[in-house]
Amino acid sequence: MSGIEVRNLSKSYGSTQALNQVSVNFEKDKIYGLLGRNGAGKTTLLNIITNRLFADSGEVLLDGKPIKENDCVLSNIYMMSEKCLFPEKMRVRDVFKWTAAFYPQFDMDYALKTAAKFELDLKKKRDSLSTGYGSILKLVTAMSVNVPYVFFDEPVLGLDANYRDLFYRLLIEKYSEKPFTAIVSTHLIDEVSSVIEHVVMIDKGHIIKDEPIESILSQGYTITGPANSVDLFVADKDVMSYDMLGGLKTAYVSGKVPAEVPSNLEVTKMDLQKMFIKMTNDKEVSK
Protein backbone atom coordinates (compact mmCIF):
# COMPACT_ATOMS: atom_id res chain seq x y z
CA MET A 1 0.00 0.00 0.00
CA SER A 2 1.07 3.64 -0.37
CA GLY A 3 1.71 5.88 2.60
CA ILE A 4 3.25 5.00 5.92
CA GLU A 5 2.32 1.62 7.28
CA VAL A 6 3.10 0.86 10.91
CA ARG A 7 2.92 -2.86 11.65
CA ASN A 8 2.77 -4.38 15.13
CA LEU A 9 5.24 -2.00 16.77
CA SER A 10 6.22 -2.75 20.34
CA LYS A 11 8.68 -0.83 22.44
CA SER A 12 9.40 -0.95 26.14
CA TYR A 13 11.68 1.02 28.43
CA GLY A 14 12.62 -1.30 31.25
CA SER A 15 9.33 -2.47 32.75
CA THR A 16 7.30 0.28 31.02
CA GLN A 17 5.56 -0.81 27.84
CA ALA A 18 5.50 2.38 25.73
CA LEU A 19 3.99 0.77 22.63
CA ASN A 20 2.18 -2.54 22.47
CA GLN A 21 1.54 -4.11 19.05
CA VAL A 22 0.68 -0.76 17.48
CA SER A 23 -0.55 -0.87 13.88
CA VAL A 24 -1.68 2.24 12.04
CA ASN A 25 -1.52 3.71 8.53
CA PHE A 26 -0.83 7.29 7.50
CA GLU A 27 -2.15 7.82 4.01
CA LYS A 28 -0.88 10.27 1.43
CA ASP A 29 -2.02 13.89 1.52
CA LYS A 30 -4.00 13.94 4.74
CA ILE A 31 -3.68 15.94 7.94
CA TYR A 32 -3.66 13.67 10.94
CA GLY A 33 -4.00 14.47 14.60
CA LEU A 34 -2.06 12.11 16.85
CA LEU A 35 -3.69 12.53 20.22
CA GLY A 36 -2.86 10.98 23.54
CA ARG A 37 -2.26 11.80 27.17
CA ASN A 38 1.20 12.38 28.62
CA GLY A 39 3.22 9.19 28.36
CA ALA A 40 0.70 7.57 26.02
CA GLY A 41 3.44 6.69 23.51
CA LYS A 42 3.00 9.46 20.89
CA THR A 43 6.62 10.61 20.79
CA THR A 44 7.93 7.03 20.94
CA LEU A 45 5.77 6.17 17.95
CA LEU A 46 6.96 9.21 15.99
CA ASN A 47 10.60 8.56 16.89
CA ILE A 48 10.39 4.99 15.64
CA ILE A 49 8.65 6.03 12.42
CA THR A 50 11.39 8.57 11.74
CA ASN A 51 14.26 6.15 12.53
CA ARG A 52 15.39 7.99 15.66
CA LEU A 53 14.58 5.05 17.84
CA PHE A 54 14.39 1.33 17.19
CA ALA A 55 11.36 -0.77 18.04
CA ASP A 56 11.68 -4.02 19.97
CA SER A 57 9.51 -5.65 17.32
CA GLY A 58 7.39 -4.70 14.33
CA GLU A 59 8.22 -2.59 11.31
CA VAL A 60 7.44 0.67 9.53
CA LEU A 61 7.08 0.83 5.75
CA LEU A 62 6.80 3.78 3.40
CA ASP A 63 5.20 2.88 0.08
CA GLY A 64 6.00 -0.73 0.91
CA LYS A 65 9.70 -0.14 1.67
CA PRO A 66 11.15 -0.46 5.18
CA ILE A 67 12.06 2.88 6.73
CA LYS A 68 14.62 1.60 9.22
CA GLU A 69 18.12 2.86 8.30
CA ASN A 70 16.99 3.54 4.73
CA ASP A 71 18.41 6.88 3.52
CA CYS A 72 16.42 6.87 0.32
CA VAL A 73 13.06 6.36 2.04
CA LEU A 74 13.91 8.69 4.93
CA SER A 75 14.51 11.58 2.53
CA ASN A 76 10.69 11.70 2.12
CA ILE A 77 10.18 12.33 5.83
CA TYR A 78 10.84 15.26 8.13
CA MET A 79 10.13 15.45 11.82
CA MET A 80 9.85 18.55 13.91
CA SER A 81 10.56 17.08 17.30
CA GLU A 82 9.80 18.49 20.72
CA LYS A 83 13.53 18.39 21.49
CA CYS A 84 15.55 20.78 19.36
CA LEU A 85 18.33 18.87 17.59
CA PHE A 86 19.95 21.82 15.83
CA PRO A 87 23.37 22.74 17.27
CA GLU A 88 23.10 25.25 20.10
CA LYS A 89 25.40 27.81 18.51
CA MET A 90 23.91 27.62 15.02
CA ARG A 91 22.21 30.78 13.75
CA VAL A 92 18.64 30.66 12.44
CA ARG A 93 19.76 31.47 8.90
CA ASP A 94 22.31 28.64 9.02
CA VAL A 95 19.65 26.20 10.21
CA PHE A 96 17.70 27.00 7.03
CA LYS A 97 20.86 26.79 4.90
CA TRP A 98 21.84 23.39 6.24
CA THR A 99 18.33 21.99 6.07
CA ALA A 100 18.30 23.04 2.41
CA ALA A 101 21.56 21.11 1.92
CA PHE A 102 19.87 17.92 3.12
CA TYR A 103 16.47 18.57 1.54
CA PRO A 104 16.97 19.99 -1.96
CA GLN A 105 13.22 20.81 -2.16
CA PHE A 106 13.57 23.19 0.80
CA ASP A 107 11.91 26.50 -0.09
CA MET A 108 14.25 29.19 1.21
CA ASP A 109 12.00 32.09 0.10
CA TYR A 110 9.07 30.57 1.92
CA ALA A 111 11.22 29.98 5.03
CA LEU A 112 12.43 33.59 5.06
CA LYS A 113 8.93 35.00 4.50
CA THR A 114 7.43 32.76 7.17
CA ALA A 115 10.22 33.61 9.61
CA ALA A 116 9.42 37.29 9.03
CA LYS A 117 5.73 36.67 9.75
CA PHE A 118 6.72 35.15 13.09
CA GLU A 119 9.27 37.96 13.66
CA LEU A 120 12.02 35.35 13.99
CA ASP A 121 15.45 37.00 13.99
CA LEU A 122 17.62 35.21 11.42
CA LYS A 123 20.84 36.29 13.09
CA LYS A 124 20.03 34.81 16.48
CA LYS A 125 21.74 31.68 17.67
CA ARG A 126 19.57 28.70 18.49
CA ASP A 127 20.44 28.69 22.18
CA SER A 128 19.49 32.35 22.59
CA LEU A 129 15.90 31.75 21.41
CA SER A 130 13.08 31.52 23.94
CA THR A 131 10.99 28.33 24.14
CA GLY A 132 8.39 29.89 21.86
CA TYR A 133 10.90 31.07 19.28
CA GLY A 134 12.65 27.71 19.48
CA SER A 135 9.34 26.14 18.43
CA ILE A 136 8.92 28.77 15.70
CA LEU A 137 12.38 27.97 14.30
CA LYS A 138 11.53 24.27 14.19
CA LEU A 139 8.11 24.74 12.67
CA VAL A 140 9.23 27.24 10.02
CA THR A 141 11.93 24.75 9.00
CA ALA A 142 9.45 21.87 8.95
CA MET A 143 6.95 23.87 6.90
CA SER A 144 9.61 24.71 4.31
CA VAL A 145 11.15 21.27 3.62
CA ASN A 146 8.48 20.25 1.09
CA VAL A 147 8.65 16.52 1.64
CA PRO A 148 5.60 14.23 1.36
CA TYR A 149 5.46 13.38 5.09
CA VAL A 150 5.98 15.93 7.87
CA PHE A 151 5.61 15.07 11.54
CA PHE A 152 4.96 17.85 14.05
CA ASP A 153 5.53 16.82 17.65
CA GLU A 154 4.02 19.51 19.92
CA PRO A 155 4.49 22.21 17.26
CA VAL A 156 2.96 25.07 19.24
CA LEU A 157 4.81 24.53 22.51
CA GLY A 158 5.38 27.94 24.12
CA LEU A 159 3.64 29.88 21.32
CA ASP A 160 1.16 32.64 22.18
CA ALA A 161 -2.41 32.49 20.84
CA ASN A 162 -1.64 34.73 17.85
CA TYR A 163 1.29 32.63 16.69
CA ARG A 164 -0.60 29.39 17.28
CA ASP A 165 -3.38 30.72 15.07
CA LEU A 166 -0.82 31.81 12.47
CA PHE A 167 0.69 28.32 12.42
CA TYR A 168 -2.66 26.62 11.88
CA ARG A 169 -3.51 29.07 9.08
CA LEU A 170 -0.15 28.55 7.39
CA LEU A 171 -0.49 24.78 7.67
CA ILE A 172 -3.88 24.87 5.94
CA GLU A 173 -2.59 27.31 3.31
CA LYS A 174 0.43 25.13 2.59
CA TYR A 175 -1.70 22.02 2.42
CA SER A 176 -4.20 23.70 0.08
CA GLU A 177 -1.45 24.79 -2.32
CA LYS A 178 0.33 21.45 -2.38
CA PRO A 179 -1.16 18.62 -0.33
CA PHE A 180 1.15 16.55 1.82
CA THR A 181 0.77 14.33 4.85
CA ALA A 182 1.03 16.21 8.11
CA ILE A 183 0.90 14.32 11.39
CA VAL A 184 0.34 16.72 14.27
CA SER A 185 0.89 15.41 17.76
CA THR A 186 -0.46 17.81 20.35
CA HIS A 187 -2.22 18.27 23.64
CA LEU A 188 -4.17 21.29 22.39
CA ILE A 189 -7.02 19.24 20.99
CA ASP A 190 -9.59 22.01 20.71
CA GLU A 191 -7.28 24.13 18.60
CA VAL A 192 -6.14 21.40 16.26
CA SER A 193 -9.61 19.92 15.73
CA SER A 194 -10.43 22.50 13.07
CA VAL A 195 -7.27 21.59 11.11
CA ILE A 196 -7.14 17.79 11.13
CA GLU A 197 -9.02 15.37 8.91
CA HIS A 198 -8.22 12.14 10.65
CA VAL A 199 -7.67 11.29 14.30
CA VAL A 200 -5.35 8.65 15.72
CA MET A 201 -5.77 8.33 19.47
CA ILE A 202 -3.21 6.48 21.48
CA ASP A 203 -3.55 5.45 25.09
CA LYS A 204 -1.12 3.43 27.20
CA GLY A 205 0.72 2.23 24.12
CA HIS A 206 -2.42 1.09 22.22
CA ILE A 207 -4.25 2.74 19.34
CA ILE A 208 -7.77 3.28 20.65
CA LYS A 209 -9.19 5.30 17.76
CA ASP A 210 -8.17 5.60 14.13
CA GLU A 211 -10.99 7.34 12.28
CA PRO A 212 -11.88 10.44 10.28
CA ILE A 213 -12.71 13.30 12.62
CA GLU A 214 -16.26 13.53 11.26
CA SER A 215 -16.87 9.91 12.17
CA ILE A 216 -15.61 10.47 15.72
CA LEU A 217 -17.64 13.62 16.20
CA SER A 218 -20.76 11.88 14.92
CA GLN A 219 -20.50 9.44 17.82
CA GLY A 220 -21.79 12.09 20.18
CA TYR A 221 -23.44 15.49 20.41
CA THR A 222 -23.87 18.40 22.79
CA ILE A 223 -27.20 19.55 24.06
CA THR A 224 -27.69 23.03 25.51
CA GLY A 225 -30.61 24.68 27.22
CA PRO A 226 -32.21 25.39 30.62
CA ALA A 227 -30.67 23.16 33.28
CA ASN A 228 -33.91 21.36 34.18
CA SER A 229 -34.75 20.55 30.58
CA VAL A 230 -31.23 19.31 29.87
CA ASP A 231 -31.25 17.08 32.96
CA LEU A 232 -34.60 15.65 31.97
CA PHE A 233 -33.49 15.02 28.39
CA VAL A 234 -30.23 13.27 29.29
CA ALA A 235 -31.60 11.26 32.22
CA ASP A 236 -31.44 7.97 30.26
CA LYS A 237 -28.40 8.87 28.16
CA ASP A 238 -24.63 8.32 28.42
CA VAL A 239 -23.34 11.77 29.42
CA MET A 240 -19.61 12.46 29.27
CA SER A 241 -19.63 15.78 31.11
CA TYR A 242 -21.52 19.00 31.79
CA ASP A 243 -20.81 22.73 31.57
CA MET A 244 -22.86 25.41 33.33
CA LEU A 245 -23.06 29.06 32.33
CA GLY A 246 -25.65 31.09 34.23
CA GLY A 247 -28.92 29.22 33.90
CA LEU A 248 -27.77 27.41 30.76
CA LYS A 249 -26.44 23.90 30.96
CA THR A 250 -24.55 21.99 28.29
CA ALA A 251 -24.35 18.22 28.34
CA TYR A 252 -21.88 16.22 26.19
CA VAL A 253 -23.63 13.02 25.25
CA SER A 254 -22.39 9.80 23.63
CA GLY A 255 -24.53 8.24 20.92
CA LYS A 256 -26.68 9.34 17.99
CA VAL A 257 -28.86 12.44 18.12
CA PRO A 258 -32.46 11.34 18.94
CA ALA A 259 -35.13 12.00 16.33
CA GLU A 260 -37.08 14.23 18.70
CA VAL A 261 -35.42 16.97 20.70
CA PRO A 262 -37.47 19.43 22.80
CA SER A 263 -37.71 22.82 21.13
CA ASN A 264 -36.06 24.66 24.06
CA LEU A 265 -32.87 22.60 23.64
CA GLU A 266 -30.20 23.17 21.05
CA VAL A 267 -28.20 20.30 19.56
CA THR A 268 -24.67 21.00 18.32
CA LYS A 269 -21.63 19.00 17.23
CA MET A 270 -19.62 17.05 19.74
CA ASP A 271 -16.41 18.55 21.05
CA LEU A 272 -13.30 16.50 20.14
CA GLN A 273 -11.62 17.28 23.44
CA LYS A 274 -14.63 15.97 25.38
CA MET A 275 -14.58 12.78 23.29
CA PHE A 276 -10.86 12.46 23.93
CA ILE A 277 -11.29 12.84 27.68
CA LYS A 278 -14.13 10.35 27.66
CA MET A 279 -12.09 7.78 25.74
CA THR A 280 -8.90 8.15 27.69
CA ASN A 281 -10.26 8.89 31.17
CA ASP A 282 -13.71 7.33 31.55
CA LYS A 283 -13.75 7.23 35.33
CA GLU A 284 -13.26 10.93 35.90
CA VAL A 285 -16.32 12.39 34.17
CA SER A 286 -17.78 14.96 36.50
CA LYS A 287 -21.43 15.81 36.89
Binding site: L53, N70, L74, M79, F86, A101, F102, Y103
Partner: protein, 251 residues
Protein backbone atom coordinates in the same frame (compact mmCIF):
# COMPACT_ATOMS: atom_id res chain seq x y z
CA UNK B 1 22.61 8.40 0.78
CA UNK B 2 22.94 12.07 1.66
CA UNK B 3 26.68 11.50 2.09
CA UNK B 4 27.92 14.66 0.37
CA UNK B 5 25.80 16.96 2.54
CA UNK B 6 26.60 14.96 5.67
CA UNK B 7 30.33 15.14 4.94
CA UNK B 8 30.09 18.88 4.22
CA UNK B 9 28.27 19.40 7.50
CA UNK B 10 30.81 17.38 9.51
CA UNK B 11 33.62 19.43 7.96
CA UNK B 12 31.74 22.71 8.53
CA UNK B 13 31.52 21.81 12.19
CA UNK B 14 35.31 21.28 12.35
CA UNK B 15 36.34 24.08 10.02
CA UNK B 16 36.47 27.05 12.37
CA UNK B 17 38.29 25.19 15.15
CA UNK B 18 40.69 23.66 12.65
CA UNK B 19 41.57 26.97 11.01
CA UNK B 20 41.89 28.75 14.36
CA UNK B 21 44.15 26.03 15.73
CA UNK B 22 46.35 25.97 12.62
CA UNK B 23 46.79 29.76 12.62
CA UNK B 24 47.70 29.73 16.32
CA UNK B 25 50.30 26.96 15.84
CA UNK B 26 51.89 28.70 12.85
CA UNK B 27 51.80 32.07 14.66
CA UNK B 28 53.47 30.58 17.76
CA UNK B 29 56.22 29.05 15.62
CA UNK B 30 56.89 32.34 13.81
CA UNK B 31 56.74 34.32 17.08
CA UNK B 32 59.27 31.98 18.68
CA UNK B 33 61.57 32.59 15.75
CA UNK B 34 61.18 36.37 15.97
CA UNK B 35 61.77 36.20 19.73
CA UNK B 36 64.88 34.07 19.33
CA UNK B 37 66.30 36.40 16.67
CA UNK B 38 65.57 39.51 18.77
CA UNK B 39 66.71 38.36 22.20
CA UNK B 40 69.08 35.42 21.86
CA UNK B 41 72.86 35.61 22.00
CA UNK B 42 75.55 33.40 20.50
CA UNK B 43 76.02 31.32 23.65
CA UNK B 44 72.39 30.24 24.10
CA UNK B 45 70.50 27.72 21.99
CA UNK B 46 66.79 27.15 21.53
CA UNK B 47 65.20 23.77 20.89
CA UNK B 48 61.99 23.74 18.81
CA UNK B 49 59.76 20.74 18.23
CA UNK B 50 56.77 18.78 19.44
CA UNK B 51 54.15 20.96 17.76
CA UNK B 52 52.81 17.72 16.24
CA UNK B 53 51.79 16.63 19.72
CA UNK B 54 49.56 19.73 20.03
CA UNK B 55 47.80 18.64 16.83
CA UNK B 56 47.37 15.14 18.22
CA UNK B 57 45.76 16.54 21.39
CA UNK B 58 43.57 18.83 19.30
CA UNK B 59 42.28 16.02 17.12
CA UNK B 60 41.67 13.78 20.14
CA UNK B 61 39.41 16.45 21.66
CA UNK B 62 37.72 16.93 18.27
CA UNK B 63 36.98 13.19 18.13
CA UNK B 64 35.78 13.12 21.71
CA UNK B 65 33.28 15.97 21.25
CA UNK B 66 32.07 15.39 17.71
CA UNK B 67 29.54 12.61 18.16
CA UNK B 68 26.54 14.17 19.92
CA UNK B 69 26.09 17.34 17.87
CA UNK B 70 26.71 15.67 14.53
CA UNK B 71 24.46 12.74 15.37
CA UNK B 72 21.62 15.05 16.42
CA UNK B 73 21.89 17.37 13.44
CA UNK B 74 22.15 14.52 10.95
CA UNK B 75 19.27 12.63 12.60
CA UNK B 76 17.21 15.83 12.39
CA UNK B 77 17.85 15.74 8.66
CA UNK B 78 16.90 12.07 8.30
CA UNK B 79 20.44 10.78 7.76
CA UNK B 80 20.87 7.18 8.88
CA UNK B 81 23.44 6.06 11.45
CA UNK B 82 25.34 4.42 8.60
CA UNK B 83 25.47 7.75 6.77
CA UNK B 84 26.48 9.61 9.92
CA UNK B 85 29.28 7.15 10.63
CA UNK B 86 30.60 7.19 7.05
CA UNK B 87 30.55 11.01 6.85
CA UNK B 88 32.26 11.28 10.24
CA UNK B 89 35.02 8.87 9.27
CA UNK B 90 35.61 10.71 6.00
CA UNK B 91 35.70 13.94 7.99
CA UNK B 92 38.31 12.44 10.31
CA UNK B 93 40.48 11.34 7.37
CA UNK B 94 40.29 14.88 5.93
CA UNK B 95 41.00 16.52 9.28
CA UNK B 96 43.92 14.17 10.02
CA UNK B 97 45.35 14.88 6.56
CA UNK B 98 44.97 18.63 7.03
CA UNK B 99 46.54 18.64 10.49
CA UNK B 100 49.40 16.42 9.33
CA UNK B 101 50.05 18.86 6.50
CA UNK B 102 50.00 21.74 9.00
CA UNK B 103 52.47 19.83 11.18
CA UNK B 104 54.78 19.45 8.18
CA UNK B 105 54.44 23.17 7.34
CA UNK B 106 55.31 24.05 10.95
CA UNK B 107 58.25 21.65 10.75
CA UNK B 108 59.46 23.30 7.53
CA UNK B 109 59.16 26.77 9.10
CA UNK B 110 61.16 25.55 12.09
CA UNK B 111 63.81 23.99 9.82
CA UNK B 112 64.01 27.22 7.84
CA UNK B 113 64.52 29.19 11.05
CA UNK B 114 67.13 26.71 12.14
CA UNK B 115 69.05 27.25 8.91
CA UNK B 116 68.83 31.05 9.25
CA UNK B 117 69.57 31.21 12.97
CA UNK B 118 72.22 28.71 13.96
CA UNK B 119 71.29 28.70 17.67
CA UNK B 120 67.81 27.33 16.91
CA UNK B 121 67.69 23.56 16.88
CA UNK B 122 64.67 22.01 15.26
CA UNK B 123 63.94 18.33 15.81
CA UNK B 124 60.65 16.76 14.85
CA UNK B 125 58.86 14.02 16.77
CA UNK B 126 59.64 11.64 13.91
CA UNK B 127 63.36 12.41 14.06
CA UNK B 128 63.37 12.07 17.85
CA UNK B 129 61.72 8.64 17.84
CA UNK B 130 63.51 7.18 14.80
CA UNK B 131 66.98 8.83 14.82
CA UNK B 132 68.82 5.85 13.29
CA UNK B 133 66.18 5.49 10.58
CA UNK B 134 66.42 9.13 9.43
CA UNK B 135 70.20 9.23 9.64
CA UNK B 136 71.52 10.00 6.16
CA UNK B 137 68.05 9.91 4.68
CA UNK B 138 66.82 12.24 1.94
CA UNK B 139 64.98 15.28 3.42
CA UNK B 140 61.98 14.87 1.12
CA UNK B 141 61.59 11.24 2.15
CA UNK B 142 61.83 12.24 5.82
CA UNK B 143 59.00 14.72 5.29
CA UNK B 144 56.90 12.14 3.44
CA UNK B 145 57.38 9.50 6.11
CA UNK B 146 56.75 12.10 8.84
CA UNK B 147 53.51 13.06 7.11
CA UNK B 148 52.44 9.43 6.87
CA UNK B 149 53.23 8.72 10.52
CA UNK B 150 51.47 11.88 11.77
CA UNK B 151 48.49 11.13 9.54
CA UNK B 152 47.92 7.60 10.90
CA UNK B 153 48.76 8.73 14.45
CA UNK B 154 46.04 11.37 14.23
CA UNK B 155 43.60 8.87 12.73
CA UNK B 156 44.25 6.45 15.59
CA UNK B 157 43.87 9.18 18.21
CA UNK B 158 40.69 10.66 16.69
CA UNK B 159 39.27 7.14 16.39
CA UNK B 160 39.86 6.50 20.10
CA UNK B 161 38.42 9.93 21.01
CA UNK B 162 35.32 9.25 18.91
CA UNK B 163 34.85 5.82 20.46
CA UNK B 164 34.96 7.34 23.96
CA UNK B 165 32.46 10.02 22.85
CA UNK B 166 30.05 7.41 21.46
CA UNK B 167 30.34 5.23 24.58
CA UNK B 168 29.68 8.29 26.77
CA UNK B 169 26.60 9.20 24.74
CA UNK B 170 25.15 5.74 25.08
CA UNK B 171 25.79 5.37 28.80
CA UNK B 172 23.32 6.50 31.43
CA UNK B 173 24.38 9.04 34.09
CA UNK B 174 25.77 6.42 36.46
CA UNK B 175 27.75 4.80 33.65
CA UNK B 176 29.19 8.16 32.59
CA UNK B 177 30.40 8.90 36.11
CA UNK B 178 31.80 5.38 36.48
CA UNK B 179 33.70 5.68 33.20
CA UNK B 180 34.94 9.24 33.83
CA UNK B 181 36.24 8.31 37.28
CA UNK B 182 37.10 4.67 36.62
CA UNK B 183 39.52 5.09 33.71
CA UNK B 184 41.82 7.70 35.34
CA UNK B 185 41.69 5.88 38.70
CA UNK B 186 42.51 2.55 37.04
CA UNK B 187 45.49 3.87 35.10
CA UNK B 188 46.87 6.30 37.68
CA UNK B 189 46.16 4.42 40.93
CA UNK B 190 45.05 0.78 40.62
CA UNK B 191 47.37 -0.34 37.84
CA UNK B 192 50.58 1.19 39.33
CA UNK B 193 49.75 -0.09 42.82
CA UNK B 194 48.89 -3.61 41.63
CA UNK B 195 51.98 -3.58 39.41
CA UNK B 196 54.32 -2.61 42.27
CA UNK B 197 52.75 -4.70 45.02
CA UNK B 198 51.85 -7.88 43.16
CA UNK B 199 53.78 -8.00 39.90
CA UNK B 200 56.98 -6.29 41.00
CA UNK B 201 56.86 -3.80 38.11
CA UNK B 202 56.50 -6.47 35.43
CA UNK B 203 53.30 -4.86 34.02
CA UNK B 204 55.10 -1.56 33.36
CA UNK B 205 58.04 -3.35 31.79
CA UNK B 206 55.68 -5.43 29.67
CA UNK B 207 53.77 -2.31 28.54
CA UNK B 208 56.99 -0.53 27.61
CA UNK B 209 58.16 -3.58 25.68
CA UNK B 210 54.76 -3.82 23.95
CA UNK B 211 54.86 -0.13 22.95
CA UNK B 212 58.42 -0.57 21.73
CA UNK B 213 57.38 -3.47 19.49
CA UNK B 214 54.16 -1.96 18.08
CA UNK B 215 55.84 1.36 17.34
CA UNK B 216 58.99 -0.27 15.91
CA UNK B 217 61.21 1.91 18.11
CA UNK B 218 64.03 -0.54 18.82
CA UNK B 219 63.77 -1.83 15.28
CA UNK B 220 63.83 1.81 14.10
CA UNK B 221 61.11 0.96 11.61
CA UNK B 222 58.32 3.59 11.43
CA UNK B 223 56.29 1.36 9.11
CA UNK B 224 55.59 -0.98 12.03
CA UNK B 225 54.07 2.01 13.85
CA UNK B 226 52.14 3.01 10.73
CA UNK B 227 50.57 -0.46 10.45
CA UNK B 228 49.85 -0.59 14.22
CA UNK B 229 48.18 2.84 14.16
CA UNK B 230 46.07 1.92 11.13
CA UNK B 231 44.92 -1.16 13.03
CA UNK B 232 44.07 1.00 16.08
CA UNK B 233 42.00 3.31 13.83
CA UNK B 234 40.18 0.41 12.17
CA UNK B 235 39.51 -1.34 15.46
CA UNK B 236 38.28 1.80 17.24
CA UNK B 237 36.14 2.59 14.17
CA UNK B 238 34.62 -0.87 14.27
CA UNK B 239 33.86 -0.59 17.99
CA UNK B 240 32.37 2.90 17.46
CA UNK B 241 30.09 1.54 14.75
CA UNK B 242 28.99 -1.39 16.91
CA UNK B 243 28.27 1.06 19.75
CA UNK B 244 26.41 3.64 17.65
CA UNK B 245 24.42 1.49 15.24
CA UNK B 246 21.61 1.09 17.78
CA UNK B 247 21.96 4.59 19.29
CA UNK B 248 18.76 6.55 19.70
CA UNK B 249 18.24 10.28 19.98
CA UNK B 250 18.07 11.02 23.69
CA UNK B 251 15.14 13.09 24.92
Amino acid sequence: MNLKSSYKYVMYDNKKALLGFSLIIIAITVLLFVASVSWSNESSTMQMGGMEIASVIFIFVAGLTSFKDNFHMLMQNSVTRKGTFTATMLGFVTTAGFLSAISIIVLLIAKLMSSIQSNIISTSFFETVYPAHVNGMNNVLILLESFLLYFVMMLAVVGIGYLIGVIFYRLNKGGKVALAVGIPVFFSVILPVVDVLIFDGRITVGLIRFMDIVFGISAQNPYVAIVSLILVFLFSGLLSWITMRKASVKA
